[in-house]
Structures are given as C-alpha cells and as structure tokens.
C-alpha cells in the first residue's frame, strides 16, 4: 500500500496495462516527452519507448481515428484528448464512428479502446477548458463512460477500461489530480458499472461522481454534526449505470439527491432521477433534488467559478430540501 496522487495513478494505471498487454499503445498530444500537460503520464515514454507511446500533432480527429482503426485491427489503444472540451472538435469520430460501428456492422467490428480526458472545472481556465462533458458521452449509445474519484479507482477502473471490449471514455477530473489516496500494491483491476457506497446513513441517499464525491462526503460530515446521517454513493461509471445500488439505498432512505458537475440540462442526475421516479416512486418520502452546475458556461474568475460549481453548502441545502 502506498500513498499516491490521482495524477500519478494515471501513469501507474497505464503502465500496469502496457506491461501486461503488448497490444496496448498510447497516443495523444504532449503525452510522451512532456509527460502530459497535467503531468499525469510522466515516465510512460521512458518505460515503453517510442514504439508504444506516440506524441501526436494537434489533430484530435486524427488521434481518435487512428485509435479506432488500430482497435478494429487488433490493437488496444489508449488515446488522450487533453481537455474534454476538445471532444467538440472530434465528436464525429466519437459519436458517429466509434460509438456506432459495432452496431451498424451487425457486430463485425469490435473496438477495444480507451479515450482518457481531463474533465471539469475548478482550475479557473474559463469556459473552453473547464467543462464537465460526461453527460455528452452518456447520451450516445455504444460508449461506456467512467469517471473515477480516487487514485485507487483511477488505476482499477483504467485497467477495467483497457480490458473491456467496448470503447470507454475515461474522464479524469482535473481538480482531483493533486489529491492523494492509498493505492494497494500489485495489480489492481476493478469492474465497470459498479458504484461504491462510501458512507451509510438512513436519512438520505446522496449520489455523486468524480470531483463531486469529496464534496458530497464533506456535506455528509456537516450534516452528521446536526444528527442527519446520509448515505453517499460514488457512481464511478455512467455507462454501465449502477441503478441497483442507488435504488437499493433509496429504498432504505426514501430520499435521493444527485450532485453533478455537468450543467443542469440532461445531466446524468436527470436520467437517474427519472429511473427512480419511474421504478421506485413509492420508496420516496420527499422530492428528488438535483444539485448541479446551473445551465451556464463556466466563468473564469475564481469567485464566479466557485459560485457556479456545486459546493458543500449547496449539497447540504439540497439534502435538507429533500428530507424536511
């Protein structure tokens, strides 16, 4: 067991998989010599060399097209899109090509590939380098969508994503890169589509993802001081979506609060809420509350960005609105 940063866990996870499987190759902008713009891939080039690690031009379509073509012919590429905002310039390859080709070809084509991307706000980078776009990805049939919140989950879920036979979008929350956590020694392989129950409490079920997980835990701590004990679930994966864990918890608590960094409209919490409302309505003892970034682009100024993103106060307030 070693303490490791979320940032270092990325390189650790990539190296674990590249060591295991020679068909895993890694490509993207500044990922090799520079060690990644977030320093999340430091050392990978030194370990595996230029026959497996490829610095690319700023050509997001060419990066993801190369990953797709290689995946359909026997390789298992891991591609990086530096900022998830840049998915907008290569969304055709993601949404029209990678996501749909298995279906359109009646299962002839298999695309075992991973697209990692720095996602989310908190860095004061402004509206084009701060978005949380996991809900874009979730809306496209054919993709799997993962967003870890801890260093251990980075390693385990990345391994699961690389070994999965479907294309996986792997969102690394930029505001978590500096956070640290325990990572067990040896190979770690997790499972896609399995939420983690991080805290148990009878008053309400708070479901969060990625950078919203530590905030939800902090809110739970504050509520506990008032005698309100809530359950906190880290969803970890949007596709597959672990409805069972959430529904089981809601059946006990009677309250659901989602905490989403993505802007409100069509965020993942809306889908989760609709499922619970449709299938578990009579378990509910209060309104479902969604705590989200409002339907705005993210502003750059720290004061404004902090006001836009869900924070502990808003989560606490959201729980109160459901339980009271």
């Amino acid at each position: 067991m070693a303490e490791m940063s979320y940032r270092d866990a990325v390189a650790h996870g990539i190296a674990q998989e590249m060591r295991r499987d020679p068909s895993v190759v890694f490509l993207g902008e500044d990922i090799g010599s520079a060690g990644g713009v977030f320093k999340a891939t430091v050392g990978v080039l030194d370990t595996f060399g230029r026959t497996r690690v490829f610095d690319t031009p700023i050509s997001e379509q060419a990066i993801l097209g190369a990953a797709m073509g290689a995946a359909m012919t026997g390789m298992r590429p891991v591609a990086e899109i530096m900022f998830s905002d840049f998915f907008a310039v290569c969304w055709d390859i993601v949404a029209n090509e990678i996501a749909k080709t298995r279906y359109m070809t009646n299962g002839q084509v298999t695309l075992p590939l991973v697209i990692r991307s720095g996602n989310g706000g908190g860095s004061r980078f402004g509206a084009q380098h701060s978005q949380s776009v996991e809900n874009w990805a979730m809306a496209v049939p054919g993709l799997k969508v993962v967003a870890p919140s801890t260093p251990k989950d980075v390693v385990g879920l990345l391994a699961a994503a690389v070994r999965d036979t479907d294309p996986v979008l792997f969102f690394e929350q930029k505001s978590l890169y500096a956070t640290k956590g325990e990572v067990p020694d040896g190979e770690i392989v997790d499972e896609l589509g399995k939420a983690s129950v991080l805290r148990q409490g009878p008053a309400a079920t708070v479901v969060a993802l990625a950078a919203m997980v530590p905030r939800a835990l902090a809110a739970a701590e504050r509520l506990a001081q008032e005698g309100i004990e809530v359950t906190v679930i880290d969803l970890r994966s949007l596709v597959p979506l672990d409805v069972t864990t959430v529904a089981t918890s809601v059946a006990r608590t009677g309250h659901l609060i989602t905490v989403e960094e993505n802007p409100r409209l069509c965020g993942w919490g809306a889908e989760l809420s609709s499922i619970i409302a449709e299938e578990n309505l009579f378990d509910l003892d209060g309104p479902i509350v969604r705590v989200t970034t409002p339907h705005v682009p993210l502003p750059a100024a720290d004061a404004l960005e902090d006001a836009a993103l869900p924070n502990v106060d808003r989560i606490v307030d959201g729980v109160r609105r459901s339980v009271l």
Binding site: A62, L64, P77, E97, N106, Q108, V109, D242, V243
Partner: protein, 338 residues
Amino acid sequence: MTDVMQPSVDAGPPALDVRLRLYQMMVEMRDFEKRAYDLFLQGLVKGTSHLGLGQEAVAAGFGAALAPSDYTFATYRGHNHTLARGVPMAPVMAELMARQLGLMAGKGGSMHLTSVAHRMMGSYAIVGAHLTIANGAAWSSKLRGAPEVTVCFFGDGTTNIGAFHEALNLAVVWNLPIVFVCENNRWMEYTPIGSVTAVPHPAADRAPAYGLPGIVVDGNDADATYAVAVAAFARARGGGGPSLVEAETYRHGGHSRADPGKYRPDEEVAAWLERDPLPLYRQRLLQAGVPEQALVSIEEASHRAIDEATELAKASPPPDLSLVEKDVYADGGAAWRR
C-alpha cells in the same frame, strides 16, 4: 506541382489475366449498380443509395491490385469497392433492400457496407472521417509488423474538410503504409468542386503541403488505375510511406437516390459518357486480340449473377426485430444499466 502518371506508356499494359479480371469486376459493378437503380425505382431498395456508375475503373483498378490481407476503407458511395473485395452480390443487394440476408442484416444500409472477413473495413458516411480511421488500420499493420497496406477511397468533396488534412499529415509523419484515393468526379453533391476549391486538383495539389506524392490518373482507364495502384501499394508495402492519388472520373447519375443530376451541363455529361470506362476497356481488349466471346462470357456470367443475387435478396425476409437491441455493446446487447 503534381506527378501526372502515364503508366500504360511507362510500364506496358497489365497481364491478360489481370485485364480480364478488371473487365469482369467492372461489368459486375455496372450490372449491380444498374440493378440497384431499377430496384430503387420499384421501391425495393429503401432509404438512400449512392451509385458508382461511371466510376468503376477506380474501384476495379485498385481492388485488383490489393492482396487478400490488405484493408479497404470506402465512403457511402462504396458498392463498387465492396464488390471489388470479392464480397458476393447477394448480401450486398440484400443490405440495400433491408433484408435479413443483408451484409449487416440491414443494420447499416447502403452507406455502411462492411465485410471484415473480406477486409472491407467499412463504408463511412460522414465526409472525411474514415481517412483518419484508415490511418489507424495502417498504423496497426506497422505496429504488428504485418506486410499489409490500407487503401482509402473518398470523393473530391472530402478534400476541403479538416479530417482530410489531419489524416494526410499524420500518415506522412508516421510513414504509414496507406494509399489515399480521391475519386474526383467533379461534383461534390450539387456544386462543382472547382467552384469551391483554391487549386485545380483538389487532392493532388494538396499533397506537396504534406510531403507525399500527389498522383493524377485517368480514373476511367482501368489499366492506368491498376498500374498506379500497383506502384503505390508497392511503395507503401516497402516502407516508402503513403501516397495520394487523384483519379479523374465522372458519375453517370446524380448524387443519390433519384437525383437526375440535371444541374450538370449536358455537354459535360455527354463528353464523359463518351469516355465511359466499360466500352472503352472492352474496345481496348478487343484491339489487344482478346476474342469477343471471352468478353461476352464475362458479361453473360455477370448478368446471371446479378439476377440470382436479386432473387436471393428478394426471397429473404426483413430482418428479425430482435436486431434492434443487438450489438450495441460487445456483450451482444444494448444494456446500459445494472
């Protein structure tokens, strides 16, 4: 600016067996596309389709030069290129007719013909995207040390979209074993490519900017396309890197479906019909001493084949409705929740 190749002058014509094969491929493509058009008018071909009538010499010339393990990527106008890989007519026609027998059981349709078993790695309907994907297949061949090449066909309209430029640059930077083939049929959809492009040869004139050979070839001359293909594939297979070929050709019909193509000047259409690759090649083979009966045999066999394929496709039922939720994910299903 570009290398205009005159291969039949340089290297002599292909061997007789190759020439008969080229003729057979073109006749089959022509029969297939004419039948697809008839079936469309009868309401039996559903949705949309983009015919390659008039452009057969490109798909045939390059198709005949491929080794079985090489990869093909094509566009929504990809019937010819699919047949050129040896995919039987019946499943292709059945795919157009939305039948269970279809190449993808009707899930892809005319614009997405794919047969991985024939290394026909797909027909792509978003202009430009598949150049980047074809790069990936070529990259994979290189990574695996496999002596495979990739050929990627696309239209003239593709040369003005970003993915074209991203793909050419990366192919050269990574020295990929790939041959890009632009079928310049002069019209994007309803607009002439020359009216919206800064250079006369929309593909080949861009090649110098990316450091790869830009080759212009008569796309209605099967001997010429074959010779260019052989040279470009040999270069790619030998580690010489990618090439960009611009084959000048013309589509006999409209862009898609029932488009009559009336926006094109009558004189232009007439001039290109004079240069129809099929009678042109037939005449050349006769002049080379091929007995007419050999050509008639090819033609009759093709006519029988398309009739049989049509009947097989017509006899096939619509796809099983269980296919709607099949193969979204690799577990075979569409489940997104647990």
